[in-house]
Subunit: 413 residues, 2 copies
């Protein structure tokens, strides 16, 4: 008998019919004799509708009250799922975040889990009940309702798996798992059966959209092995865990493409200490998230600094940067929106050389120019022209042999 | 500076526009320097929609989970009202029933308030905040969410007014107050400015629909003076309080009509002790609510027993009664749906004689036959033919001079 934590996202509980399907899946596992903790999100669309309602009242609603409002979404789906289990004769009980003992800090709408006291949850498990917990929510020490922000339900599931020392943690979602590349862009992309936390973190941060990075970080910190899989069929998904020796043998785990970046270059920056700090402090203070930063070799006492931001933040980034460029006597500012960031990720890079060379070779052969390069221990990112982005992803995916075995050459544009 | 408890029903917070109106009303009172506790219902229609959703999942959902689900209704409206107050620059905070310290027994969907620990509520009041409390809900000693059943939000308001020793308790609703008769039936009915708990209880029990009897009982028990008034304008409503000497001078406070009754007569019942107990125990066990009971004088060793039930329970009442009638050797069962119960209510009856005589005289003059009579200390009820019901209400209302002064004779049918 195992203790299993399962999390079902909004699309898995989008309507009463899907809730019944989820209940049937849970019932099958329960009948095998396992103890089950189920974390649910709000039915898809509900959270957005609640936010809209709040905006009708008040353009900038207070975080505390927005959390009170949003928390009703998961409370609704957890009650409905409990009822669906009851009608299958499965004993089940639902708990809000507060009732499940999830205590957070007071940062409303993006609270951090401070600790979990799962006394009540354990009592219900011991009584033989399936325990359904509202994802995405908790309460402060003083008893105010909080929400955990985007991806919060995954975090709830992983935190509960950690504190309950669950044997298995399954994140059910509307995708089959983590892929070597986005199958919409690279048709012969394959599902990854096992991936390390660090690789998953890079993939998440690079926009593979399966999971928020902080849930993965939390799982890594507390060594929670979890599986990302689809709630629409019974095929296994992707298991995320600490790196094994076996994993090190694969040089590149996957290729990701981020087409939401824009590039900003400050030309002719005086090459003095503190200039870069000045620029990036100002950007940070304006809450602009800078991704890649490249500074070219200094020539004649000046240098060029290039960085990328999200497209929607480009205009603000320019407004922040322009007065500073003038102040420090930089020559010119240029920007470019039609770019894409391609990355290859793999812990195997630590022990294998030649990854960068292979990447650049593949791009060069396809006639794709590399505009920026940035590397980390398990990742190499390049910025390319947006028009070449899809072609770039395909040729790189092929170069590292990530596609289906025997798949046709798909390096064409 | 007073402490005022206000309750707003579902129609008063039906949409974001109305919520803003309610916020404006609260803001005006707050700016006068009063402390305010606001109890809100779910936006009208929401509770019904949630019940429907539950039924889609499960024909008979568990009470515990239904309460978890329904409690989201008030949680939604309280958060929205807090936001609306914030946008008027009024400091406001919302609390669920559990957060407000409302502890109930474990009878899900119709829980009784066991006690209230308003520590947190008082802290927020002391901090100068308007405190918004979800009506209709609480939690058990062990922390399960409960709801208080129909009219539960009124009960929340009155219970909070009691425990906080509020100076004023106002129940805002979609009617102007309590009337001497239903204005739809008796056009010259007038609003009652003051009414005693006992009269209000009889009016409520007799279907005047303004408030559930148990909220009034609770107010009576804890001596909470409250006012029922409209949230759509600023006119005063009806104050409900302990009887004053002044009130005793009015013989009849109001006339009510209940057209939802049916009559069942068992003819030729052997006049032995225990027979009536046998019949009414069986009806009680079948959960059939019997209203009036009249037993005629015994003749030749047999008697006739007549009682009324709600129309929708007539068929069940017959099924319960028939085997018993056969068993005890009664002659026959008859029933009649086309009846109405008219009642006059007033604590003045205690000290004034001739009320019954005046009632019967008025009905006789209008040619209306009285089928059953039942009296209590502050109420006289008669059953009349349904076709005469409206006429009966009008002539009685006129006979006791309850209409507008100088109003035209409205005794016509």
């Amino acid at each position: 008998m195992s203790l299993i934590v399962q999390k079902y996202g909004g699309s898995s509980v989008a309507n009463t019919e899907r809730i019944r399907k989820v209940a049937e899946r849970i019932a099958r596992v329960w009948r095998e004799g396992h103890k089950l903790v189920i974390v649910v999100s709000a039915m898809s669309g509900v959270t957005d509708r609640l936010i809209e309602l709040a905006r009708e009242i008040c353009p900038e609603p207070s975080g505390r009250e927005l959390d009170v409002l949003l928390a009703t979404g998961e409370q609704t789906s957890m009650a409905l799922l409990a009822m669906a289990l009851h009608s299958l004769k499965i004993p089940a009980v639902s708990l809000t975040g507060a009732q499940a003992g999830i205590v957070t800090d007071g940062s409303h709408t993006r609270a951090k889990i401070a600790n979990i006291t799962p006394k009540r949850l354990r009592e219900h498990l011991q009584a033989g009940q399936v325990v359904i917990v509202a994802g995405f929510q908790g309460q402060t020490e003083t008893g105010s309702i909080t929400t955990l922000g985007r991806g919060g339900s995954d975090l709830t599931a992983i935190a509960l798996a950690a504190v309950l020392r669950a044997d298995l943690c399954q994140i059910f979602t509307d995708v089959d798992g983590v892929f070597t590349a986005d199958p919409k862009i690279v048709p012969n992309a394959t599902k990854i059966s096992e991936i390390s936390y660090d690789e998953m973190l890079e993939m998440a941060a690079l926009g593979s959209k399966v999971m928020q990075a902080r849930s993965v970080e939390f799982a890594k910190k507390f060594k929670v092995v979890f599986e990302v899989r689809s709630s629409f069929h019974d095929k296994p998904g992707t298991v995320v865990r600490e790196a094994t020796e076996d994993m090190e043998n694969v040089v590149v785990r996957g290729v990701t493409l981020d087409r939401d970046q824009a590039k900003l270059t400050i030309l002719g920056v005086p090459d003095r200490p503190g200039i870069a700090a000045h620029i990036f402090t100002a950007l940070a203070e304006a809450d602009i998230n800078v991704d890649m930063i490249v500074q070219n070799v200094s020539q004649h006492g000046t240098t060029d600094i290039t960085f990328t931001v999200r497209k929607e933040e480009l205009a603000r980034a320019r407004r922040v940067t322009e007065p500073i460029a003038a102040e420090i006597g930089a020559r010119e500012i240029r920007w470019e929106e039609a770019i894409a960031k391609l990355s290859v990720v793999g812990i195997g890079m630590r022990s294998h050389s030649g990854v960068a060379a292979k990447l650049f070779h593949a791009l060069a052969q396809a006639g794709i120019n590399v505009q920026m390069i940035s590397t980390s221990e398990i990742k190499i990112s390049v910025v390319v022209d947006e028009a070449s982005a899809i072609k770039a992803a395909r040729v790189v995916h092929d170069a590292f042999e990530l596609g289906h075995q025997g798949s046709p050459d798909s390096s064409g544009g």
